[in-house]
């Protein structure tokens, strides 16, 4: 047997795609065409609404607001990808967001000061609250995941029960009351002028992002060279790296063109004894913290999906559950873990929602499950299982949010937005089904 594994390496050079045709050129860059197409669609949607609004909509302020509104859905959608890829569903995310958001509010307004008698200036209150919230989210996820994976109750039923039960528990947490008054540092998680990084840090993040893109391309190239695999032509590497860096720096510049609201800036000037120049003091907000959380979540979840065993098993199970089992994978544990990840992501989204509200109400996270599933599906996740990408789901969340924001900006009310969102969802899946059939028959 050893001689099979030790046989001399066979150098099978795959034929590089032709450089002649346009599609050949694109193929050589090995760009994810589907994701690229979705980014183009997103740009088209934004431009169309911008034109409809007479060039009013695309401004740094509006785009930063739109992005912050999309973060909660986008963060949870990255986890929904893993759940749907492994042939399950999670309908309980909205209720779980509501429960954890209410927990944050009660922790910081009631339990810390009144039960644990922590002083108001106790260090790292925000981090302790966040850690407890994440633990709560993970625990709910673990319970639901256990029932689905080990007891064998269908995920639709378990999480439908979760949707009702957990939303009911939110009422018991606060006895029906809305709770407000969070730790000031915790509030920064929600974004806004104060909850943003400022110009210098934003440029810093942009530069680090560029370095990361270059380092990533370089290490991928070295890795492939190590085994003598075909590598991308240098021009393609340069184009990808250049476009990536330009996009990152462009976003940083765009976010830095968003300034503090006038009232806030004037108060800041007065507090710090700064003379207000003509036209007002302009302080760049830069990237809001919730966006940074989303970027971090997207990177970590993509890494889990593509570079870790857990992610590989999720996709393998989605492609063929029997094959995963026969390959010796602990499929039950894998499925249970997808729900634990979901719970953690719900806790992060809940932190953003609670911080933005500076508290919590009974209906925080209401119908999140629908938008999250829509984001994942619009982003290319298939209910047949086995396919879906994290980055796609994030773009999907931005597509859905852009449509809602654009309609609202152009005066369409919320029922009208729902009508359009529903139609877009069906169209996206219909297009996907049509596209698959076409590619299979060709």
């Amino acid at each position: 047997m050893t001689n099979v594994a030790d046989a001399p390496p066979v150098h099978v050079q795959t034929q590089p795609p032709s450089r002649r045709s346009m599609s050949g050129l694109i193929a050589q860059t090995e760009v994810d065409l589907r994701l690229f197409g979705m980014l183009v669609a997103l740009a088209v949607i934004l431009l169309a609404f911008d034109i409809l609004s007479g060039g009013q909509m695309i401004s740094p302020t509006n785009m930063v607001t739109l992005s912050v509104q999309a973060t909660g859905i986008a963060i949870i959608a990255t986890g929904m990808v893993l759940v749907i890829v492994s042939r399950n569903i999670d309908l309980s995310v909205g209720s779980l967001v509501g429960f954890v958001a209410m927990s944050y509010a009660l922790l910081m307004t009631d339990w810390f000061p009144n039960i644990l008698h922590l002083p108001a200036d106790f260090p790292l209150t925000w981090a302790i609250a966040l850690a407890i919230g994440i633990a709560i989210g993970a625990a709910f996820g673990a319970v639901q995941g256990f029932i689905i994976a080990y007891v064998g109750v269908p995920s639709f039923i378990v999480t439908l029960g979760g949707l009702l039960t957990i939303r009911g528990l939110v009422w018991y947490l606060s006895q029906g009351a809305a709770v407000s008054g969070l730790d000031p540092t915790f509030q920064l998680i929600g974004g806004g002028a104060a909850g943003s990084m400022g110009a210098t840090l934003t440029w810093g993040v942009g530069v680090v992002g560029c370095l990361a893109v270059v380092a990533f391309l370089f290490s991928a190239r070295r890795q492939r060279r190590r085994f003598g695999f075909p590598i991308r032509p240098m021009w393609a590497e340069t184009v990808i790296g250049g476009v990536g860096c330009l996009a990152i720096l462009g976003l940083a510049a765009f976010a830095n063109a968003n300034y503090w609201p006038k009232g806030l800036a004037d108060r800041y000037a007065a507090d710090h004894g700064i003379a207000v120049p003509a036209g007002g003091l302009q302080i760049s907000t830069g990237f809001p913290y919730p966006i940074m959380i989303l970027i971090g979540v997207t990177i970590v979840m993509s890494w889990i999906a593509k570079r870790r065993r857990f992610g590989r098993y999720v996709y393998a199970y989605g492609g063929n559950p029997d094959a995963a089992l026969l390959a010796g994978i602990n499929t039950r544990w894998t499925i249970m873990k997808t729900y634990v990840v979901m719970g953690i992501l719900c806790a992060l989204a809940a932190a953003i929602a609670a911080a933005r509200l500076n508290g919590s109400t009974l209906d925080v996270g209401q119908s999140y499950e629908l938008y999250v599933i829509a984001a994942a599906v619009v982003g290319g996740t298939s209910f047949a299982g086995g396919t879906g990408s994290i980055a796609g789901a994030v773009v999907g969340a931005f597509v859905m949010q852009s449509i809602a924001y654009g309609l609202s900006f152009n005066g369409v009310n919320s029922p009208g937005q729902n009508v359009v969102a529903g139609i877009v969802l069906i169209l996206a899946v219909g297009f996907d089904a049509w596209n698959r059939r076409r590619s299979r028959s060709s």
């Binding site: 594994a5 795959t14 065993r309 996709y315 063929n320 010796g328």
Partner: protein, 262 residues
């Protein structure tokens, strides 16, 4: 051919498997020696696959005993079987069609870096080596298995079993999906693996396949073992009589053999 002495590699003793009230396998005993190919034959529903799934850990036996190298072992799941050096090529191939060849070859046994990250390049390199041996024309290392031909998929399933230095190989209809050239390749591979001292259970509908490759033939009918014979002691007609009528060669009459050819 005479059966060699020494401890068998695998002994499956008095195996029973029932699904509800249906006895899929009843009190079956078979064994396998190093460097030997045992053909497991029988009609549809004879219980061949069910029997062998006990050995590969896919479905534990209700009762009975499995010995490896004379030692009783417990095989509760596919991981246990693989840890004992038992590799299986399933009739369904058991490939995850949405991931590529090397991800399938290493499924459940991924190569990782120091930090536990998947080392895809190392896995692809090893897969290229194995596939270069099994199917030199195979080049689609980056595409999901779903877009590959039946022969290519079969090669991946075989490559997966071969790569991990199995001592015991179970092949369930390994040539069912293959054309003549690919079938010949698989036959050569079986002969080569056998010469390396690997024990192989070969399940097949094709009596000629079995006669070509097997040293001994175990025949099952309706979940029971009809018997095990040395290939050199029997004719194809006698094996057919075992498969169809459940009669051992010494019980078969000329009339029975004549009926087989009607």
């Amino acid at each position: 051919m005479t059966v060699a002495d020494g401890t068998p590699l695998v002994e499956m003793q008095h195996i029973n498997v029932a699904f509800g009230g249906v006895h899929a396998v009843q009190n079956v005993t078979v064994d396998l020696r190093p460097g030997e190919v045992v053909g497991l034959v029988g009609g549809n529903g004879a219980g061949k696959t069910t029997l062998i799934r006990c050995l590969s850990g896919a479905h534990p036996a209700d009762s009975g005993q499995i010995l490896i190298d004379g030692q009783p072992v417990s095989i509760a799941n596919p991981r246990d079987a693989k840890a004992l050096g038992i590799e299986t090529i399933y009739q369904t191939l058991a490939l995850a069609e949405n991931i590529d060849a090397s991800a399938n070859v290493f499924l459940g046994r991924e190569l990782t870096s120091r930090f536990g990250d998947l080392d895809d390049a190392a896995m692809e390199s090893a897969t290229r080596r194995v596939m270069g041996r099994l199917n030199p024309n195979f080049k689609n290392f980056k595409t999901p298995v779903v877009s590959l031909s039946g022969g290519q998929r079969q090669a991946i399933a075989i490559g997966r079993a071969v790569h991990f230095n199995a001592r015991i190989l179970i092949m369930d209809e390994p040539t069912a999906a293959l054309g003549p050239a690919e079938t010949a390749q698989v036959r050569d591979l079986i002969k080569q693996l056998k010469s390396e001292g690997i024990g192989i259970f070969l399940i097949s509908h094709d009596i000629h396949d079995v006669f070509d490759l097997a040293d001994r033939i175990s025949v099952m009918l309706h979940g029971k073992l009809v018997g095990t014979v040395n290939k050199s002691d029997v004719t194809t007609d006698e094996v057919l009589a075992m498969i169809i009528m459940g009669k051992m060669p010494e019980e078969v009459t000329q009339k029975d053999l004549a009926m087989l050819h009607e």
